[in-house]
Symmetry: C2
Subunit: 360 residues, 2 copies
Amino acid sequence: MNRVHNFSAGPAALPDAVLERARADLPDWQGLGMSVMEVSHRGPDFMALAERTEASLRELLDVPENYRILFLAGGATLQFASVPLNLAPPGSGADYVVTGNWGRKAVSEASRYLNVNVAADSESTGYTTIPDPATWSVRDDAAYLHYTPNETVYGVEFHAIPDVSDAPLVADMSSTVMSRPIDVSRYGVIYAGAQKNLGAAGITLLVVRDDLTGRARGDTPGVVDYRLMAESGSMWNTPPTFCWYIMALVLDWLRDEGGLAVMAERNERKAGKLYSAIDASEFYDNPVDAACRSWMNVPFRLADPELDDVFLAEAEAARLTNLKGHRLAGGMRASIYNAMPESGIDALIDFMADFEDRRA
Amino acid sequence: MNRVHNFSAGPAALPDAVLERARADLPDWQGLGMSVMEVSHRGPDFMALAERTEASLRELLDVPENYRILFLAGGATLQFASVPLNLAPPGSGADYVVTGNWGRKAVSEASRYLNVNVAADSESTGYTTIPDPATWSVRDDAAYLHYTPNETVYGVEFHAIPDVSDAPLVADMSSTVMSRPIDVSRYGVIYAGAQKNLGAAGITLLVVRDDLTGRARGDTPGVVDYRLMAESGSMWNTPPTFCWYIMALVLDWLRDEGGLAVMAERNERKAGKLYSAIDASEFYDNPVDAACRSWMNVPFRLADPELDDVFLAEAEAARLTNLKGHRLAGGMRASIYNAMPESGIDALIDFMADFEDRRA
């Protein structure tokens, strides 16, 4: 293994143990004489894997019994459309809180289907803050309230669940799911693309409270109808089986590591170290309000943007890769999901200090 | 390698060469120090893979310049909804020809969005025939004409492209794509889930004529809007990157094997051998009209259905797996896509003859 420290925002680094297992399982999975890609999703071996995945998620995320766990295709972006199709009858409206790029995209897609009320938007601060929930203009008759607990581009994260509306709370947790324990019972729907903390791009986890299924509009494609998918064990059509399998391996790894409480402790420490290093320097800067800095995505800027390209090239040479910031934010970004080991953070901090010494 | 002959209808067997390559590429793809699952879809390495995939498809399938090639998530079943959303304005209608289970599902899903006219349906023959296209009740004002060139459950395949309507021809080629050369210019839209002849479940190939993009209804989810996806190189959102990569490996293998003309010759020979063995026996039977027997899925029944379970158990012991027929059709089914080598057909025929000798 000649692996780099990969700070990609997503698709993102996977645990070494997951990749080793996937390699060992090719081309003969469980002694079947076939790879996991080649078996029927309705056969006993894949069905056992599907059940194990759901049981692991239910245990790790502490999902209450009155919630269904779905495995869907199409990414979180398809859920931007599927959430209104499933939860909001034609002519109704929903509240959206925008604290970054993904929330804005969710609004744009939802607007095809319903009357979107932007209850709060932090664009005026360059998405460096989270507006106080007490100031959100939520509506009593909203079909739901949608927000994005972590925004990858600007590195802004909610560290508490907002409690300002009686409408079901819907969260795009793509970039924060499994990074800490959460109280699932506070939510109506949680969804997350897999390619940050749950595996490979191509499968989406969705957790939905029972009573929010069975309401889909007639023009909802069957593959994203929550009731149809719940009743068919997410096999109304052929699911993305290999991505499902990788998710199972990631969940095995999470259990082996000690679960979400351990992840939370580790993630808080990893992020804390990196923010401390940035804050202690005049050479690096992170503009985000300290109260809502992300544990998962740490954007930072160099005092002299002329040095950006040199920084990236030297980091690459030091086997620290994918540190370029999103084009909307510029600068650098270190995405440090669960799979990023603390040694990767230490290596980055050392490199940053060394670069500063030489270039400041 | 201790591989079986896998006759699964899908997800189906992959070429050994593809799995060996995938194994070799874990966990370090192209010397990047990352697996292909961990790189950004917008980075230069994945972009090069995406371009190579499209170029391979364009060459192998001989796709004309005025057609776009898209890589979509959600499986062919999502296209059952996406085709009407993209091609048919609200209030319009389309013609559907039903020659099996998948065509029927396509009708059911399309009915959410438009007025479906079933132009022909072979249910009265137990889906063992294809109605003469001259008898189809097509409509002059149909937005398109949809059919399923190969039906997996009953093993019925069109061996010529129907030419009975001026409406754009739309084909669900999930179980026949890449099995032979086709004249793409005769079609408006071709789509195919990958898990039979193009790789792993989780990605869908779609080939669409330029003038049929840009017509999507306002309530079309962005991830299946053909124009949006064409303009973004199928990266309007994060695509299923690993499945895309597996497709690229399958296409490499197809080129190495000599392309679709070679596949067609091989597939016709493989299927011909198996049908001949069935027809020569009083013990096995295939009910499908000889003019439309599938090259890809060969269902057969034992004269004595009481022996079905013994047949399956003994086949399994002989490392011939997944031969059980679909529950709608009963009996046996051998799915023999491109990746099934001729030696697998020979092994099955030998086993069938031996079983007959012992049990007849």
